[in-house]
C-alpha cells in the first residue's frame, strides 16, 4: 500500500462551547477517494476544514506530505491550498460576476498563470466535464448541475494532489448528482488526485474507495473495524 499523503490525528475543535470535533482521525493515501459520512451536525465539514488547513484544530495534528499543516503560517497554508488542494462545496461557490471559464481560471490566475494560458487550460477542463458550451455564461445563467461541474473543473484545473468536496451533490437531483460524481471520480482518477468526499448519501459515498463515519465529532475508520 502507498504511503499516507494526508494524516489527521486526534483532532479536537470547539466552537464556543459546542464541540465540533472530539478526537477525529483520518488517513488519506495518494489517489484514493475517501468518503466521510455521518449525520448532519456530526462534524464532517469541520473535519474537512481542519484537514485542508482552513481551520486550525484546537488539538491534534494534520500532516500533509510530511509537513505539519497545523504549524504553518496563514500565508503558507494559503499557498498550499492554492497549489496542492482543490475545493468543491455544496453551493454558492462561484463568483457571480465572473463567467464560468473565468471562475475555473481563477485558481490558476491566483497562482500567477497568465490569463490566456489559464483560460485555455480552463476550457479544456470545461470540455472534459461536458460543460464547454456554457464557458462564456455567468453562474446565474446556468443550472445547478452545470454549476457543480464548473466547480469540479475549478477544483481540478490546478491538478491538485487532494480535492476536498463537501456535499458536492447535496443541492442536486440524483441524476445530476450521479453525473457530477462520475465526472469527479473519473477526473480525479485520471489526474491521480486523492478526494476527501463529505456526504451523507450512501450512493454518493459508493463512488469512494472506502468510507469513514463521523459520529458526534469522532471518526470511525470502518476499514479498521472490519
Amino acid at each position: 500500500m502507498t504511503e499516507p499523503l494526508l494524516v489527521g490525528t486526534d483532532l479536537f475543535k470547539m466552537y464556543g462551547t459546542t464541540p465540533a470535533l472530539r478526537g477525529s482521525s483520518l488517513t488519506v493515501r495518494a489517489g484514493e477517494i475517501v468518503a466521510v459520512m455521518g449525520s448532519s451536525g456530526s462534524g464532517k465539514s469541520t473535519l474537512l476544514h481542519c484537514l485542508a488547513g482552513i481551520v486550525r484544530p484546537d488539538d491534534g495534528t494534520v500532516v500533509y506530505a510530511g509537513r505539519q499543516i497545523s504549524a504553518m503560517s496563514d500565508v503558507e497554508r494559503s499557498a498550499l491550498r492554492r497549489r496542492d488542494f482543490g475545493f468543491v462545496f455544496q453551493f454558492g461557490q462561484l463568483v457571480p460576476e465572473l463567467t464560468c471559464v473565468e471562475n475555473v481560471a481563477l485558481p490558476l490566475r491566483l497562482d500567477g498563470v497568465r490569463r490566456k494560458e489559464a483560460e485555455r487550460r480552463s476550457r479544456e477542463w470545461l470540455d472534459r466535464l461536458e460543460v464547454g458550451d456554457v464557458a462564456g455564461k455567468l453562474p446565474g445563467q446556468i443550472s445547478g448541475g452545470q454549476g457543480q461541474r464548473i466547480a469540479v473543473a475549478r477544483a481540478l484545473v490546478t491538478e491538485p494532489k487532494v480535492v476536498f468536496a463537501d456535499e458536492p451533490t447535496g443541492a442536486l437531483d440524483s441524476l445530476n448528482g450521479e453525473k457530477v460524481m462520475q465526472l469527479l471520480g473519473q477526473a480525479a482518477r485520471d489526474t491521480g488526485a486523492a478526494v476527501v468526499l463529505v456526504t451523507h448519501e450512501p450512493r454518493v459515498a459508493a463512488y469512494a474507495d472506502r468510507e469513514v463515519v463521523v459520529r458526534d465529532g469522532a471518526s470511525l475508520d470502518l476499514e479498521r473495524v472490519a
Partner: protein
C-alpha cells in the same frame, strides 16, 4: 387610506424592526444615517435665525455717530473705540464716560463702570486670569467690577470690555456721544455677489447631504428585498409588497428624524462651548426656521417612500427570490442630459446681471439652476460608469474581480459615489467663483512688511513736542529695533482755476524720517519739500493752504524755498504723495496742535516673541484710543474670509458624511458576500488580492465620478463667472485640492473596510446556515 393599506404599512413598519439583532442593527444604522443628515439639515436651516440674532445684538449695542452731532443731556454717555488685538484675536473694547447723572447703558451692563474699573465678557474674564492672558493682563490691569451679560455679546466666546474713564471729550476723533445705544441700520448686508456665493454654498453643501439621506434610507436594501420575497411566498401580491416596503421605509425615516432631532439638540447644547473660526454661538440662537424645519420633517419620510419605490422599480420581487432587472439594458442618455441642460438654461438669463453694486437677483432661479446642474451629475454618473466599465477587459485578478462586479451591478457603487461627485462638482464651481471674486475683495494694501512690521497711531496731547518722548517709550519696548515717528495732516489747497478744491497730505518728521519718503538731497530742520507724484497735485511754493482737520482752520504759507523732490516707496502707504515738512518749518499752531496723531513705523527683532502685544501695551498707555496694526501686503475683506472658511469646513464635513455612507455600502456588500469570501479563502486567495479588488471597485467609480464632477464643476463655474461678469478662468489648484480631498475620503473608506474584509475572510463563513 383603506384599512388594508394601513395594515400593510404597519406590517412593513413592524418588519423594519423584526429580524432580531441584525434587523435592529439595520434599523439603527438607517436611523443614525438619516439622523445625521437630518441634524445637518436642521443646523443649516437654523443659520438664518442665528445670523439674525447675532446681527440684532450687534445692532443693539451700536454706538458710533459717524460725525453726527448729538446734544449733551443728563443721559449722555461718551464712548471711545478701543478695539484691540491680542495674539490672533481682535476684539471689541470701549472707553465709557458718563456725562450726566443718568447715563444710558450699553446692552449687557447694569451700570457704567466707574473710571478705572471695567466690565468684561465672561470669556475675557477667563482669559485675563489664565496664564495665556499674562501680557493682556499688563494692558487691562484694571479691576473687573462686572461681567457683560449675554444680550450685550455676539456669542459666548466673544472677548469684549467696557472701561470706565473720565478723560474723554466729545470732540475727540473716535469718541461718540450717545443718548441711546443701538442703531437700526448699522449692520452691513451682504452685497449681491457675496449673497450669490452664500446661496450657492448652501446648495452645494446641502444637496449632497440630502443625497446622503436618500442613500441612508437604502441601507439594508438587499436584505429587505429578500424579506419581501418571503412575504410574497406567503401570498402577498406585488402591490402589497410595495406598500409593506413603503411602511418600512417610512418607519426608518421617522426614526431617523427622531434621531436627527436628538443629535441636533445634543449638538446645540454642545455648540456653546466650541469656537470655530473665531465665531461662537449661544445655543439659544440656534433655532431652526419653523417653516423649513416642518418641510424637513415632511419631506424626509416622503423622500424615503419615493426612493424606495424607485429602487423597487428595477427589482422584481418574486415569491422564490429577488430578480434584479436591467443589468444588461443600456441606460438611456438623453433624459440624463436634460437636467443639466435645463439648469444651464435657468442660469443663462442671469449672465452679467449680478455685481457688487447691482440690485439683487432671483435666489430661486439660482438655486434651481445649480441644483439641476448638480443633479445632472447624479443622473449621468450611473450611465457613465456602465458605459465605461462595459468596455474594460483583462488585467490582473483583483482588477478583473472589481471590473466584473461593476459590470454586473455598477449602479450600486455608482449610487454611493454620486454624493461625492455632486459635492466635488459643486465645490469646484464655487472654487472657480472664489478665485475670481477673491481678487475684488482682496485689496492690495501697498504695505511692505519687510521694511517695517508694525504701525502705531496715537494722539499726542501737546502735538509734535511729544513725538520724541513717545518714540522713546516705544523704542524701549522689548523686541523693538527701531521707531520712525511722523505725523500726517490733511491740507486744503487753494482752489484751482476750474474751481475744484483739492487736498493733499502733509507729512511732518525729522530729516532722517523724511529721507525715507523721498529723494531729498540736502535737508535741514526748517526745510519743506513738494513731492512730485502725478497721483496728487501739490501747490507751488508760496501758496497758502488751510488745515483740513476738525476744529480751527489754521493757515500756512508754503515757504518759497520749498523744493520739488521725487517720491520713494513708503512701507505703509506705497509711493509718497503730498508735502513733506520738518518740524521747524511749521507754525506752532499746526505743529503743536493738541491731539496731533503720531504715526510710528516700528521694526522688530524677528527672534523676539509677542512683540506686537508688548508694543500694543505701550501704545495703550500712551493712548488707549489709538491703534496698533501689523503690516500686511494684502488685506482680505473680513466677510469674504469668513465665507471661504465656512465653505472649507462645510465641504470637509459633507465629504466625511458621504464617506460614512460609502463605508456602510461597502460593508454591506462585504457582509452579503461572506460565504463567497470564505470560499475564495478556502482555495488560497491572498488578502492582498481581495483588498485590491475592493480598492479598485471603489476607486473606478470614484475616478469616473471625479472626471464627471470636474467637467460639471468647471461648467457650473463658467456659468457662475459669466453671471458675475468675470472672465472664465479654470482654477486647477482648486480642482486639485478638492479632488485630492475626495480621493482621500475613498482611501479612508477602503482603509476602514479592510479590517472587516479580513475578519470576513475566515473559514467561519463557509458554514452553511
Amino acid at each position: 387610506m383603506s384599512p388594508s393599506w394601513l395594515r400593510e404599512l404597519l406590517l412593513g413598519a413592524r418588519m423594519a424592526l423584526a429580524g432580531g439583532r441584525s434587523g435592529l442593527a439595520r434599523a439603527t444604522l438607517t436611523a443614525v444615517g438619516v439622523g445625521l443628515g437630518v441634524a445637518m439639515l436642521l443646523a443649516a436651516v437654523s443659520i438664518p435665525h442665528m445670523m439674525q440674532a447675532r446681527s440684532d445684538r450687534g445692532a443693539a449695542r451700536a454706538d458710533q455717530n459717524y460725525g453726527t452731532q448729538v446734544a449733551r443731556t443728563d443721559r449722555s454717555t461718551l464712548v471711545g473705540v478701543a478695539d484691540m488685538q491680542y495674539r490672533d484675536t481682535s476684539f471689541r473694547g470701549r472707553l465709557v464716560q458718563a456725562e450726566g447723572s443718568q447715563p444710558v447703558l450699553p446692552p449687557g451692563l447694569s451700570a457704567l463702570p466707574r473710571p478705572g474699573e471695567m466690565a468684561v465678557s465672561p470669556a475675557l474674564a477667563r482669559l485675563l486670569v489664565s496664564p495665556e492672558g499674562a501680557l493682556l493682563r499688563e494692558r487691562l490691569h484694571y479691576p473687573t467690577t462686572a461681567l457683560i451679560a449675554d444680550e450685550g455679546l455676539q456669542g459666548p466666546g466673544e472677548l469684549a470690555f467696557y472701561l470706565g474713564t473720565d478723560t474723554l471729550t466729545a470732540d475727540t476723533s473716535g469718541v461718540s456721544r450717545r443718548n441711546a445705544f443701538g442703531d437700526e441700520n448699522t449692520s452691513e448686508g451682504l452685497d449681491p455677489v457675496l449673497l450669490l456665493l452664500v446661496v450657492i454654498i448652501f446648495v452645494v453643501l446641502l444637496l449632497p447631504v440630502a443625497m446622503f439621506v436618500a442613500s441612508a434610507i437604502r441601507f439594508g436594501g438587499d436584505s429587505r428585498d429578500r424579506r419581501l420575497a418571503g412575504v410574497r411566498l406567503v401570498g402577498a401580491d406585488t402591490g402589497m409588497a410595495r406598500r409593506i416596503a413603503a411602511g418600512e421605509a417610512m418607519l426608518s425615516a421617522l426614526l431617523g428624524i427622531a434621531a436627527g432631532a436628538v443629535m441636533f439638540l445634543a449638538g446645540r447644547s454642545f455648540v456653546g462651548s466650541v469656537e470655530l473660526m473665531g465665531i461662537s454661538v449661544y445655543p439659544s440662537d440656534v433655532q431652526p426656521d419653523p417653516v423649513l424645519a416642518a418641510l424637513i420633517v415632511l419631506a424626509v419620510p416622503a423622500a424615503a417612500v419615493v426612493v424606495t419605490m424607485l429602487s423597487l422599480r428595477r427589482v422584481l420581487i418574486e415569491p422564490l427570490g429577488v430578480v434584479r432587472r436591467g443589468a444588461d439594458t443600456p441606460r438611456r442618455l438623453w433624459w440624463r442630459l436634460l437636467m443639466p441642460a435645463l439648469g444651464v438654461l435657468l442660469l443663462l438669463p442671469l449672465v452679467g446681471s449680478v455685481s457688487k453694486e447691482s440690485e439683487g437677483f432671483s435666489e430661486w432661479q439660482v438655486i434651481g439652476g445649480v441644483c439641476l446642474i448638480l443633479l445632472g451629475v447624479a443622473t449621468l454618473l450611473p450611465w457613465l460608469v456602465q458605459s465605461v466599465v462595459r468596455r474594460i477587459h483583462g488585467g490582473p485578478v483583483a482588477w478583473q474581480l472589481a471590473v466584473r462586479r461593476l459590470q454586473l451591478d455598477g449602479s450600486m457603487s455608482a449610487r454611493a459615489v454620486t454624493g461625492v461627485a455632486v459635492a466635488v462638482a459643486g465645490a469646484i464651481g464655487l472654487q472657480m467663483m472664489f478665485a475670481a471674486v477673491e481678487a475684488n475683495y482682496q485689496r492690495f494694501s501697498g504695505q511692505d512688511s519687510t521694511r517695517a512690521q508694525i504701525s502705531i497711531a496715537a494722539r499726542m496731547p501737546h502735538g509734535w513736542s511729544d513725538a520724541a518722548g513717545f518714540a522713546a517709550r516705544l523704542a524701549a519696548t522689548p523686541g523693538v529695533t527701531s521707531v520712525t515717528p511722523r505725523s500726517v495732516l490733511s491740507l486744503n489747497l487753494p482752489a484751482s482755476p476750474s474751481g475744484e478744491q483739492a487736498s493733499a497730505p502733509l507729512t511732518i518728521g525729522e530729516c532722517a524720517v523724511l529721507r525715507r519718503l523721498a529723494e531729498l538731497g540736502d535737508c535741514a530742520d526748517g526745510d519743506v519739500f513738494l513731492v512730485d507724484n502725478p497721483d496728487v497735485p501739490v501747490p507751488a511754493p508760496g501758496a497758502t493752504v488751510t488745515l483740513n482737520e476738525e476744529g480751527e482752520g489754521a493757515t500756512w504759507t508754503i515757504p518759497s524755498g520749498a523744493r520739488t523732490v521725487r517720491p520713494l516707496s513708503d512701507p505703509l502707504n506705497g509711493d509718497t504723495v503730498g508735502l513733506l515738512a520738518t518740524p521747524a518749518a511749521l507754525p506752532v499752531a499746526i505743529r503743536d496742535r493738541p491731539d496731533l496723531q503720531l504715526q510710528a513705523l516700528v521694526t522688530v527683532d524677528a527672534a523676539a516673541t509677542d512683540t506686537v502685544d508688548r508694543v500694543t501695551n505701550t501704545r495703550w498707555e500712551l493712548d488707549p484710543l489709538g491703534t496698533t496694526w501689523e503690516l500686511n501686503p494684502t488685506v482680505v475683506d473680513n466677510k469674504f474670509a469668513q465665507i471661504r472658511r465656512g465653505l472649507f469646513a462645510g465641504a470637509a464635513a459633507t465629504l466625511l458624511l458621504i464617506g460614512a455612507s460609502l463605508l456602510v455600502v461597502v460593508l454591506e456588500q462585504l457582509r452579503d458576500r461572506r460565504r463567497l469570501l470564505a470560499v475564495l479563502v478556502a482555495f488560497g486567495t491572498r488578502r492582498r488580492t481581495m483588498s485590491w479588488a475592493i480598492l479598485w471597485q471603489t476607486a473606478v467609480p470614484v475616478v469616473l465620478g471625479l472626471v464627471l464632477a470636474c467637467a460639471a464643476g468647471v461648467g457650473l463655474g463658467a456659468v457662475l463667472l459669466r453671471i458675475i461678469g468675470a472672465p472664465v478662468a479654470i482654477d486647477w489648484a482648486g480642482i486639485g485640492v478638492v479632488s485630492a480631498l475626495a480621493g482621500g475620503v475613498i482611501l479612508l473608506v477602503t482603509g476602514l473596510s479592510l479590517p472587516v474584509l479580513w475578519r470576513l475572510m475566515r473559514a467561519e463563513g463557509l458554514r452553511t446556515e
